[in-house]
């Protein structure tokens, strides 16, 4: 049946249901586009034949192929759109700089979309209130305390806190730090929030 390659693209994303981004399947997309090209060309020639020779018995076949074309279009659109939603999540989970291992799974155009999204979001956040704006990718949970106990999961180097104090984030070291300075590092897996 037609549309088999297209449904394969959708299954590929469905198998990874938690929002992770598998490698962009350029070859899969190309194959679906090829099937579409063939279907379209066959339909064009059958349409001409139906018109010029009055071969109306071809109409069901033309409709059949058209359904397959629409199906392929839908699967590709849904594949690409769902991936964008996953790419969008990366901005919120990782911040604006993506690790190479993640970028590796993105197409050049997805990276472009990501950069534009990042820019739109930054413009929006800068527009909020005063000169500096408001970073709404922070404060994901209601604050319970000003300072929190954190453990360093990996070496991160020097880190400046509010009052200009610089501390060294060394693997396995434990610190008592202002909560709102730590949030991004915790999400990125550099620090671990230790509950007392």
């Amino acid at each position: 049946m037609f549309g088999e390659k297209a449904i394969e693209l959708v299954r590929e994303l469905d198998r990874i249901g938690d929002g992770q981004l598998p490698a962009f399947n350029e070859d899969g997309i190309r194959q679906v586009l090829e099937e579409m090209k063939a279907l379209y060309e066959q339909n064009q020639s059958d349409v001409n034949e139906a018109k010029s020779e009055g071969a109306s018995e071809l109409i069901p076949t033309i409709k059949f192929r058209h359904c397959c074309l629409l199906r392929n279009q839908r699967c590709i659109a849904a594949y690409l759109y769902d991936r964008l939603l996953r790419v969008r999540a990366l901005r919120w989970e990782y911040g604006s700089v993506l690790p190479t291992s993640v970028r590796f799974h993105m197409s050049a155009e997805e990276l472009e979309w990501f950069n534009q999204y990042k820019k739109s979001l930054a413009t929006y956040m800068r527009s909020l209130g005063g000169e500096e704006g408001l970073d709404i990718t922070q404060d994901m949970k209601p604050p319970k305390s000003l300072y929190i106990e954190v453990r360093c999961v990996k070496d991160h180097g020097e880190f400046e806190i509010d009052d200009g104090t610089i501390i060294l984030l060394k693997k396995n070291s434990q610190h008592f730090l202002p909560r709102w300075k730590c949030e991004h590092l915790i999400r990125q897996g550099v620090l671990e929030h230790v509950l007392s």
């Binding site: 659109a77 413009t123 404060d139």
Partner: protein, 225 residues
């Protein structure tokens, strides 16, 4: 607090709206919390509350400035800082819910905003409107470049307004009544039921379809919880 009142009175003078009464900081935060909970629990994007957002941002800035003047280690300082953190959380969470809905429903949100009659309240703040337009253009360009332009001529567009689902107004929400309501018509849930009317007493709590009470959320008669 006196600084705050000044700020707030300046803000309301600036808007040139005489009907807007002066709010105390406590009232302002209450308004923010109401807007936040409504936005968090309503399936659709609500009218923007830009004035509240601006006032709260100004209040935060002032509180930060005041905090600089307080001596380090002062107990007052940590209480103030905690207060700042809490307000900032509510504000961020509110703006986040809005942005999420704008992204999720962008074709519909934009359509609604563009077809709005002059004088009707705007759903999007100017900044949100700009964001939504960029989001749509970015996504359209992306789909076009990667796939659609390589497709047969009659399949090179997708109608986002048809493809992207609309908010489900039939979903159920919890609410608390703030202003007494009489004869609210409730649609039947099953074939053997018929439409019936309910009265909503002040302070009572209900679980209802959002569609039924959407106008009451927007005019402030009920609070989503």
């Amino acid at each position: 607090v006196s600084v705050m009142s000044d700020v707030l009175s300046e803000a309301s003078e600036g808007s040139g709206d005489d009907s807007q009464e002066l709010m105390t900081p406590a009232e302002l935060i209450e308004k923010l919390e109401e807007a936040w909970l409504n936005e968090k629990f309503s399936p659709e994007l609500l009218e923007n509350k830009s004035e509240i957002v601006e006032c709260v941002m100004e209040q935060l800035t002032h509180m930060e400035e005041n905090l600089q003047r307080v001596k380090k280690g002062d107990l007052k300082a940590s209480i103030h800082r905690m207060e700042i953190d809490r307000i900032r959380y509510v504000l961020s969470s509110y703006l986040r819910s809005r942005l999420q809905k704008i992204e999720k429903y962008f074709p519909h949100v934009l359509k609604k905003e563009k077809s709005r009659a002059d004088g009707d309240p705007s759903y999007l703040s100017p900044e949100e409107f700009a964001f939504a337009k960029e989001y749509m253009a970015n996504t359209e360009t992306y789909l076009k470049n990667v796939a659609l332009r390589h497709m047969p001529p009659n399949l090179q567009t997708v109608d986002f307004a048809k493809c992207v689902p609309e908010p489900s107004l039939d979903s159920f929400v919890f609410l608390r009544v703030k202003v007494q309501q009489e004869n609210i018509l409730v649609e039947p849930e099953t074939d053997d039921q018929s439409e019936y009317a309910v009265d909503l007493e002040v302070g009572s709590q209900h679980l209802m379809r959002y569609r039924t009470i959407a106008p009451l959320v927007s005019n402030g008669a009920v609070q989503l919880i």
